[in-house]
């Protein structure tokens, strides 16, 4: 037995990183081997995750608890009665049992570890500021790891077939009219980095580490969407994805900064760290994470229970108001107030007696490890909205959804990876992971964002003809479902749908990839039709995906969509003013069924509309169909429980139920219930506890309504596109306005072009002008001046300095040239010179002597 199985997941995270580094160094020359390395790495990550999951299984909600599938009571009545008992076992979730975390066996989940890599001050001073690199593995992490690594492995295997033509030294790109070198290894290099980033994101125990992975995921999506960068559409799409995500990430970093400022940490769960105490000994000390700092624990850090009269605050944000508003900030004392403008931050080391209904509460305005501090309530809301804005960008929610459909420009396996397992899942995952941070106002924003997104995206998907675009908008829409579910407190439903959606959306994308591959890169459904005869495996597996996403009974999507509808209904029952949050998804379920069956009918049934495409169509090789079959299998059974025909007996749902943040559990023995959402959850789980609500059982009601809605959508699609009773062309012309509006995607691109792209372009042009004429002018001017000065200097050097030196040499040369003629070489001349010289000297001496003389 491993001491801390969490390290298995760390190893699983690092495997794709190792593959990335290997491929980065040498991948260029390895060809097909590069694909094998990447596939082996992610496959190894899957095996490690599976081993880790095996370690986790005994601790999960599936076995040894009242919800084990064998013991599940068949009738709904009993089943809900049993749900009473499991609440007590969820205490480990966020470590509100402060002392238990210190004494806990590290082999007990959640598995934690990590190190502090930046600490600006010690905990002793009270100022808490430390950045961690750590891991936190609970059931959500485990199931996300399994899903990501499994889907990614299948996509890798699929890619080794799909990307095979990149192995040629020369690849002709028909869309960019360019011939270029094959880039097979590069694809797998990026894929490995992508997988590493995503796994690290899920593994991280603090917002900062999540943010790092967040950005890595962003850059990987940029690199992969722009994989065919010769095509301007692909490079534009890559830019769009990256820039749109920047908007969201700005929100994320602002949210993180707010939490950092007021809470002094970015770690989400409670952690244990080694600390030097006053005597200089190293002691294990508990450091509360963001959740425990913001939501009131029911015990203080010494493990003593807090006063009982405060129990209505346990698990909630505690709002306070200053007693004397104008007092000095440092001395301000607070009292508990229903709608106070401040929220208490529980820094640890506080005593129970500090907190009573009557006494004035002393709290500092700066984050501390030694007691209580406060943060403004609006900052808490802003931080939540900021973090959620990051998720809006990553998970392509309204109004930042525009990048996802364009991301279809990447190779199809990338679309599958982005849409199923990695990028868009990151946003939903983070909302789920950081769920306890969100104030009710933020949750409402999340719910409405999801509702608007799911409706808009589904309506656009109704009219698209590009097979991948339909799937892209369906992804946006399904992500909207997840966000809506999370926003209305359906934590389980949202993440449940994330997991089932991962499988059937990966299946649908790989299926569309197979179709596109088989039709020689034809993506327009209007040119397909009748392909069932040509590619039976693809057609059947895709039908499984279509049924799953449409919510057909017994397919995985049915269970998760049902859970979402129940959550929405329960919320609407409690907050009737938000009835839209139930109606919009209900209508959208019909739209989903319609556009998905439309896609399937247009592609696989009817008469071939383009003979050329039809004749050349062929089934894909087994490396591509095998992942399809596996995914189809998973799309059907992943949510099954016993009995399968009970939509609320799903094993996966019960697994997630055990992992739900403790604040949401409505059981009477859970002391940490959230006042806003726990009643909603209680109604969803035990409607009989609310006799005053005169409605049928929410499960039956929501389930039937959703099924009815999906059935209408299915029938309509079949009528129009299979039986041909209605001519789609005529309908188009009848509703030309609506059709154009939807075809133009609600004019989002046009609006963004006017409010964002155009001004940016104008600004860019001004900057370009400034750069060209002012900056470049200065630079060029100084360069030109330098050249001129150098020229003058060169002339001086050449003319004067060199001139003088050369002049000396020239003079000497000239003298020498003249003197050389003396040396005639004639012996007789020398004799003559000697004689004459002798005579001359003689004459000179005589003359001098005579003068002296």
């Amino acid at each position: 037995m491993l001491e801390n199985p969490g390290w298995l997941f760390v190893a699983a995270t690092l495997l794709p990183l190792i593959s990335f580094i290997l491929l980065l160094i040498g991948g260029k020359h390895w060809g097909r081997v590069a694909g094998w390395i990447a596939t082996a790495a992610i496959g190894g990550a899957f095996i490690l995750s599976a081993i880790g999951a095996a370690y986790y299984l005994p601790h999960s909600g599936l076995f040894g608890h009242s919800h084990s599938s064998e013991a599940k009571p068949a009738s709904q009545e009993e089943h809900r009665g049993a749900s009473h008992t499991h609440g007590a076992r969820r205490e480990h979730n966020h470590g509100h049992e402060y002392s238990s975390l210190l004494e806990r066996d590290p082999a007990e989940p959640p598995w934690q570890g990590g190190l502090v890599w930046a600490q600006t001050s010690s905990g002793e001073s009270g100022q808490a500021t430390a950045l961690r690199l750590g891991f936190y593995v609970d059931g959500l992490t485990v199931i996300m790891f399994l899903m990501i690594t499994l889907v990614a492995t299948l996509i890798h295997i699929f890619s080794t077939g799909y990307m095979a033509e990149e192995l040629q030294p020369q690849v002709e790109d028909h869309q960019a009219y360019a011939v270029r070198a094959g880039r097979y290894p590069r694809f797998f290099t990026y894929m490995s980095l992508f997988c590493f980033s995503m796994l690290n994101l899920v593994l991280a125990d603090n917002l900062f580490q999540i943010f790092i992975s967040w950005e890595l995921v962003g850059i990987c999506s940029y690199l992969l969407i722009g994989y065919y960068y010769e095509r301007s559409s692909a490079s534009n799409a890559a830019n769009k994805a990256f820039i749109t995500n920047r908007v969201g990430d700005a929100g994320f970093i602002i949210g993180s900064a707010i939490l950092w400022t007021y809470c002094g940490t970015l770690t989400l769960p409670d952690t244990v760290r080694l600390q030097r105490n006053a005597k200089g000994e190293m002691v294990r000390e508990l450091e509360p994470g963001l959740f425990s700092r913001l939501r009131m624990p029911n015990k203080d850090t010494h493990g003593d229970p807090l006063p009982g009269q405060l129990d209505k605050y346990f698990g909630n944000f505690v709002r306070v108001a200053p007693i004397k508003p104008a007092a000095e900030v440092a001395d301000t004392r607070y009292r508990l107030a229903e709608n106070g403008g401040w929220v208490l931050v529980f820094g640890g080391h506080f005593h129970g007696e500090d907190l009573t209904e009557e006494t004035a509460i002393a709290a500092s305005s700066a984050p501390t490890n030694m007691g209580l501090s406060v943060m403004p309530y609006w900052a808490l809301v802003l931080a939540g909205i900021g973090v959620f804005l990051g998720c809006v960008g990553k998970s392509a929610q309204f109004p930042l959804h525009v990048w996802l459909p364009d991301a279809m420009e990447g190779p199809t396996p990338v679309s599958a990876l982005i849409h199923a397992a990695t990028m868009v899942a990151a946003g939903v995952y983070l909302v789920g992971r950081a769920f306890p941070l969100f104030a009710p106002e933020v949750l409402l924003v999340i719910a409405y964002t999801g509702a608007v997104t799911l409706f808009i995206a589904a309506s656009i998907a109704l009219v698209q003809t590009d097979i991948k675009r339909v799937l892209a908008y369906s992804t946006v829409s399904q992500l909207g479902f997840m966000m809506l579910a999370l926003g209305v407190g359906g934590w389980i439903a949202g993440l449940f749908h994330l997991l089932t959606h991962a499988f059937f959306k990966a299946l649908l994308f790989l299926g569309s990839g197979s179709v596109i591959h088989g039709c020689h890169h034809e993506q327009d459904m209007m040119k397909m039709g009748g392909l069932y005869e040509k590619m039976k495996i693809t057609a059947v597996t895709m039908l499984a995906g279509v049924l799953a996403i449409a919510g057909a009974p017994l397919f995985s999507g049915w269970y998760s969509k049902d859970a979402i509808m129940v959550s929405a209904l329960a919320f609407v029952v409690h907050h009737p003013q938000h009835i839209l949050l139930f109606l919009l998804p209900l209508i959208t379920v019909a739209m989903t069924a319609f556009y998905m069956f439309r896609l399937w009918y247009l592609t696989f049934t009817g008469k071939p509309r383009d003979e050329h495409v039809y004749e050349h169509a062929h089934e894909s090789p087994w490396v591509m169909t095998l992942p399809l079959i596996v995914l189809a299998l998973f799309s059907v059974v992943v949510a099954w429980g016993w009995p399968p025909w009970d939509p609320h007996a799903s094993a996966l749902e019960h697994y997630l139920d055990h992992e739900m943040p403790i604040y949401l559990h409505p059981d009477a023995d859970n002391p940490l219930q959230d006042a806003y959402l726990a009643p909603v959850r209680k109604y969803a789980e035990q409607p009989e506890a609310f006799p005053e609500i005169q409605l049928p059982d929410p499960h039956t009601l929501a389930g039937l309504l959703a099924l009815l809605s999906a059935g209408i959508g299915f029938l309509l699609a079949t009528t129009v596109y299979y039986w041909g009773y209605l001519d789609p062309e005529a309908t188009q012309q009848q509703f030309a306005r609506v059709y154009t509006f939807l075809w133009e995607k609600w004019h989002f691109d046009a609006v963004y072009r006017w409010i964002a792209v155009r001004p940016a372009m104008v600004l860019a042009r001004i900057c370009r002008w400034f750069d060209l004429y002012v900056i470049d002018g200065l630079v060029d001017g100084s360069a030109r001046a330098t050249v001129k000065i150098s020229q003058w200097d060169g002339k001086f050097d050449l003319g004067i300095i060199d001139g003088l030196v050369n002049l000396t040499a020239d003079i000497i040369y000239a003298v020498a040239a003249w003197l050389r003629h003396v040396q005639t070489g004639l012996l007789r001349n020398y004799v003559l010179f000697l004689a004459l010289a002798a005579v001359g000297i003689f004459a000179l001496v005589s003359y001098i002597l005579a003068l002296v003389g």
Binding site: V822, G825, L827, V831
Partner: protein, 104 residues
């Protein structure tokens, strides 16, 4: 007739010297040039001998120098004739004007 004195000897020596110099300066034949050299040396010898005869201070030294000069002349002739012979071997002529390779 006036007695023959130092002056006449010096005069003869000078004439011999000048004849030798002129001979060296105008002869193209190497042998002729050597002859001129002999004349110059002999002119010098006459001077030494004359001083040894007519000047008390040079009684011995003059004669010694004259003898030296004769030996010198013999050695010079031996070396010079060897040079001339070699020159002739290389150029098949004894014309000193053709030996101008060292001109500037």
């Amino acid at each position: 007739m006036a007695s023959v004195g130092l002056t006449q000897y010096l005069l003869i020596g000078a004439v011999l010297f000048v004849c030798g110099v002129v001979c060296m300066a105008i002869k193209r034949n190497a042998i002729g040039v050597l002859m001129g050299v002999e004349l110059v040396l002999n002119g010098a010898s006459v001077n030494f001998a004359a001083f040894a005869r007519f000047h008390e201070a040079f009684r011995v030294e003059g004669q010694v120098f004259a003898l030296f000069t004769i030996v010198l002349a013999a050695a010079e002739a031996a070396i010079a004739l060897a040079i001339v012979l070699n020159f002739y071997n290389n150029y098949l002529t004894v014309d000193v004007d053709s030996a101008e390779e060292l001109k500037g």
